[in-house]
Amino acid sequence: MKEIKYLIIGGGIAGTTAADTIRKNDADGSVAIVSDELHRLYSRIMISKPSVFLEKVPFEQIWLKEEGWYKENNIEFLSGKKAVSLDTKEKIVRLDDEEEIKYEKLLLAIGACARRLPVPGVEKKGIFHVRILEDAKDIMEASKSAKKAVVVGGSFIGFEMADLLRQKDIDVSMVFNTENCWEPALDKASSKIVEGVLEKGGVKIYGGQEIKEILDGDKGKKVVLKDGTELKCDMVVFGVGVSCPHDWLKKALDVKRGILTNEYLEASASDVWAAGDSCEFKDTIIDDVIILGTWINAQEQGRTAGLNMVGQKQAYKNVTFYTTRGFDIAVAFVGDASQADDRERVVRVDAEKKISVQFFVKNGRIVGATTINRVPDVQVITKLIEKQIDISDKMEELADPSFELKKLL
């Protein structure tokens, strides 16, 4: 049986950064990355950005590591293989080709998968989900000849895809099952700002709707909604959320939305860590157990997990954010921008200027925020979260767009 000192499942930014960190601190211990993708590390962000999608830069720009990087750093790269079972007692991972690997220390950086709706017709040609390099290439190819597209989902992916397809002059209809787009992450006022710019940008919105089935039409496709509306199109792109592919880990580890860890990214079995989109971790800054899907969070968790794996024990403490632009607005999500029973939403909005900031407040402290066209606020909000500033007696000021947030620091 193969024996690896540091075994990493997942070849994305979390897993690769962990491998890099481990190698920088342990020149001799064997390191292996198992990835279910065929490729070396690439930028999952770039493949849904205008630079690549509109071919402003060559596709080859997406690579973040040279071909030779793995060998040069003595990191074994097992690509196109899936881990299917974990025995934490014997410390063995089994792969889908029956190979078994015995580990000393294990990192699970398995990421998140695009959710698939059980809609009849979803397996047909011309229907796309957004996760891997091949998806991006397929969508780019389809968009070259498409005249009409249906985008399913009204959050990050839906918004970005609608923007990219409109930039290619493709007619876009957007379908989502919440009343307003980007709910429940965005509040109503912020949602309405986004819907306004989508409509101004030529997107037809079908909110509060679900898909009944996707049929093949005379030319192209027909997306049939549950209310009977038929949307003719040449391609369909789904962006309806993510799920963590952790079924195979349920018997071995504590899992919920993701793989549960403490603040040291340690999972519930010894010598097992988790990092990135699949990691549901104890965040000691906001005193909550959260799961994040940002690039920088995955990268920095990979680094922290790697350090912990080589014996440099440290908690992961980081407030991260993600920004996106489209239809001439800038949207940013800071910290843990999600609703929960023990959280209150406070919103400041100027609908005319298309500006909004939504705060998520728990126990008198900001734990997360969403902003539209208030990118300068992102850094202030990051500091407010980091420093755990008590704003319990400043709720009115939070809701007042004319109050300068930096006064709270």
Partner: protein
């Protein structure tokens, strides 16, 4: 027309003569700042700017450029040839 900001570097021990940040590509992922906070920070538009082009050595600078998930950081040698990406 892209929005690129150039920062000249004149370290004697360096082969890199210029750092360029393409602000159209920058999404404030901030991995460059994590690598070398002495070199970069985010400006009021949450785009990365170079505060000190001479702060970091070549290896660190290359790592910062390589860490950018949108390849918004370009590096040029002293003759003006692009060396990254």
């Amino acid at each position: 027309m892209s929005d690129k900001k150039e920062y000249l570097r004149d370290r004697e021990d360096s082969k890199i003569g210029k750092i360029v940040v393409d602000r159209d590509f920058c999404i404030a992922a901030s991995s460059c700042i994590v690598v070398t906070p002495e070199t970069y920070e985010l400006d009021g538009e949450s785009k990365a700017v170079v505060t000190d082009a001479n702060a970091a050595d070549d290896e660190t600078l290359k790592t910062s450029a390589e860490s950018c998930p949108t390849k918004a950081i370009l590096l040029f040698d002293k003759e003006g040839n692009q060396i990254y990406p």
